[in-house]
Symmetry: C2
Subunit: 149 residues, 2 copies
């Protein structure tokens, strides 16, 4: 064994994009099992740890509440018998995500329309961008918003 196994918390942070503070926090609340310690009681993150952190990050970035993530982690620790529950949890999450994506797509269209309307108001030599280059996906939406007076 040439070097100490695993990487430091700062390296783990750099490699996952998760702040060191947050890595400790996740461990504290049980999202991460106690990370093995090296000399001086310092955390040494293995590749598995990093993979798990990345998976947690993916769940968080898709707006899964910490509470649900904890439930998922608990199920995973409980062994293979919980695979059906885990699948159910992920399926539910995926459905919510698909719905959210639909909503966001819709809103994106509305925002694009709104921008177009505003640009119609600008003088022809608009300072921001000369014209709308292939306005990608404008969902038809009335946009009957007034003004904040």
């Amino acid at each position: 064994m040439s070097t100490i196994e695993g990487c430091s918390i700062e390296q783990a942070s750099a490699r996952t994009g998760v702040p060191a503070h947050t890595l400790r926090y996740y461990e504290r609340i049980g999202l991460l099992a106690p990370v093995p310690r090296g000399p001086g009681g310092r955390r040494r993150y293995t590749e598995d740890d990093l993979g798990w952190v990345r998976f947690l990050t993916l769940l968080r970035q898709t707006d899964m509440p910490i509470r649900d993530m904890q439930r998922f982690v608990d199920l995973t620790r409980a062994g293979d018998a919980t695979v059906p529950q885990r699948v159910a949890l992920l399926r539910a999450h995926r459905e919510a995500l698909v719905e959210r994506l639909d909503l966001l797509q819709h809103h994106l269209g509305a925002i694009t329309t709104k921008i177009d309307v505003y640009e119609g108001l600008l003088p022809p030599d608009a300072c921001v961008e000369p014209s709308t280059p292939a306005a990608d996906d404008r969902t038809a939406l009335a946009l009957t918003d007034g003004s904040p007076r």
Copy 2:
């Protein structure tokens, strides 16, 4: 004039999906200009007010911070001269939204893959769903996550 103009806060809430509490809160922090009052000092929401509330909702649901919404509102109140700034603000927001959509799409693929992997572990008579019906968009992703030990 047969009936009092505008609708009550509860009706406004029902018609926009925004809780009455939140409507008052938005007004308090200046996102909504003071809504005209009817007899007894009660709010009467006009169609314009509702339209504006819906627009605010669309911005919030696409994760625009309240702070930015306030800035947008301030610009709108400041008159037509601020149209370029408003366009810039909306453009920036749209860009962020597009990026977020990309990320979410990517994560959706990863979650779908994960579900598929889990289902591969299940006995053939899986209780949740017999098979994956046309697994829509699975982005290739390693998913080298370990387990939480």
